[in-house]
Structures are given as C-alpha cells and as structure tokens.
Symmetry: C2
Subunit: 188 residues, 2 copies
Amino acid sequence: MYKNLRNHIESIVPLTDEEYTLVSSYFKIKFFKKHQFMVTEGELTSYNYYLVSGLTKLVYTDASAKQHILAFAMEDWWDTDYQAYFTQTKATLSLECLEDTQALCITLSDFHELCGALPKMERFFLEKVTRGFLASQRRILSLLTTSVQERYEQLIVQHPALLQRVPKTQIAAYLGVSREALSRLGPK
Amino acid sequence: MYKNLRNHIESIVPLTDEEYTLVSSYFKIKFFKKHQFMVTEGELTSYNYYLVSGLTKLVYTDASAKQHILAFAMEDWWDTDYQAYFTQTKATLSLECLEDTQALCITLSDFHELCGALPKMERFFLEKVTRGFLASQRRILSLLTTSVQERYEQLIVQHPALLQRVPKTQIAAYLGVSREALSRLGPK
DNA sequence: ATGAAATCGTGACCGATGTCACAGGCTGTA
DNA sequence: TACAGCCTGTGACATCGGTCACGATTTCAT
C-alpha cells in the first residue's frame, strides 16, 4: 500500500519490496478535514508529513494578526514546521488544511532510525532537502528581484491549478502583498 | 592540516584520524584575491567551496544590470551556485570575493564519491543542507513580514562585523532596497 | 602626489502599495 | 427563505521606496 510514497521515493532511489516494507513501517496514515491544523503555532511538532492528497498552507501569523504564507503543499509534497520539527521546539508556524487531506507522517526519532537502518533513505532525504533548499533560494531571489505582478504571472504559469483551489487573499499572502494590491493588477 | 574543516565537520559527526585523512583527500585548496570570481555567471560551476578565510558575496545580476545579493559568506561557510553545481548547468549567479579568500573545494563527483565512501559524510551534509534550508525559510519569512528597517536592525545585531567589512551599497542589495533608501533610515 | 573611482548622504519627484471603507455576489446553514 | 460569513473589486488617501541628480569625502592605483 501507499503506492504514492513508494513511487515518490523510487523516483530518486530504487527500493526492493523488503526495503519498502521497512520504510512504510515507520509511517502512520492520518486524515484531516478542511480547516484542521496539522501543526499548530505554539505547540510541539511531532511529525513530518508526506501528503498523499489534499492541499495545505504553511502560515506565519505576525503580531498584528496578519497571515503570511510560506508555502502551499499538495500531493507528493513534504511539509511541516521544519524548524520546530528538527529542533523539537514549539512551532512558530501553523500548517492548516485548505481541503480534506491525507498524509503519511513520521516522528523525528523514527526519521533518524530509518536513516540509520537504511542508508538509502539518508540519500533520498539529502536529495529532497537539497531540492527544497534550492527552491527556497529561488523564492528569495524572486522576492528580491521581481515585482508583484511578475511573481503573480509566474505563479499562474507554474501552478495554474492553485488559483482554482485557493482564494486570492491567500495568494496575496503568499506573494507578499495585500489582497487589494493583487486585485488591482488582475483586470489589466 | 585544514584544522578548520575538521573542527567544522566534527561539530556534527566525530571522525577518526584515518577518516579525516580520507575526507581531506577529496578537497583542494584555492586562493582568490579581492574582486576575483569563484563562480562566474554563464559558466559551469565545478566546485562547492568551504571558506577557510575571507569574505564573499553570492550575487544575481538582473536584466538592468542591478545586483541582488543572495548571501554573504565568510569563514566556516559553504558557498557556491548550488543550482548550477548540483545540476551541472551554467551558473545564473556569481560568487565574488569581497576580500582575499582561501577556500577548500570539492567537485560534484568527488562529493558523491565521498558520501559513498563514508556514510558519515552523508549525514553531515544532510545536516548542513537542512540548516541552510531552514536559514532560507527564515529569510523568506523576514522578507515577507518585516520592514527594511527591521531587517537592517536584525542584520546589525546578528552580523555586526559585516557592516565594518562591506559597503552600504552591498548591504542594501542584500536587504532588497536601494542604497538611498537604506541611507535615509540610518540617522533615524 | 595626483587624478579616477568608489562611497555616502541628501533633496526632489513620482509611482507603487498599504490601509480603510464600502458594496455586490456567492455559499452554507438554520 | 433569510441570514451570516466569505470573497472580490474599487475608490480615497497617506506613506514608503525607486529613480535621478548633486556634492563631499574617502579610497585606490598609477
């Protein structure tokens, strides 16, 4: 079972059936409904989630209650408050479902155990984290160099499905502008 | 030799003398002068650099020749155009020395060989990349949530030495504002 | 020492964006 | 049906930051 996860891992490192059985034994499936929190600000973050289906947002809420979206995640993405997860401290971010979501989750200690038991998985995660790091750098660059309009147009090109599933308010919170500013450049 | 590197690695995974001898055999030392490019936009990026001493900036130059600084790096930091390095494609960033710099460098194929020969090093790099990823996420959040002034003040607190070594123009290019805007909020 | 280049502050002007307010449309629920 | 809550667009206004221009000072290389 969990063919999704197996395909996902095997896109980077091949696994035998026995190996995958071992891998999957470390994961537990969880179901969440729209508006539920998978990670809650101020609480400990027990799990790293691999999303089987659904849609989530990773959010920071600032002092004036304004929301800033670090990332959306959907099928085949990994997501959690990594800072809190890896350091086992209280979350500063929240991970909230924008749709009903199924996820496979793993604790930090199981994560380490798994890497120890199967070095291939360490390679897999190294590759994954590296890609995440590169994506973050691209995002920083895009925040530094491009206008809101350019970022919006790129988002439309790269994730057209998102716009159908997420209200503009949230898109604005992801792009780093107010809802109104985003609305103004739409009609043009 | 290269005690820096050994201490750096051992802050995460302990090494025997033999292991470290093996590790260091994969690295080559290089010397650069101020204004030299360690990575040049448009060219292939052969190396990942561990900085022994000196100071560098990782820069993107946009269509209108404006510079945007992704990161400064100094002693004990790793630096290169990772996108270009890991995918072995032409660099879109430049890595330029702001001071004379010594660095230990490793090719991508040697990097993979080293990880294969010594799984500990895979763990080390996983840890390193993870921290880099977390730092990037913090930077994104700070770009989304804080004003130029706040970012400037945080930079002063976190890296006071930088301000002594780097002209304000470059600081501005790192913070994501014009030189003039940064100058205006200095006297406060 | 001398000239060229870099650094830095400052003023004027203007476009982009945040904030606040209002209105219409849509959806879900009692 | 009726209501409440979201989502979206739009206008008015103030502010922030970009751009251009100027000049003073410092740094650097010849």
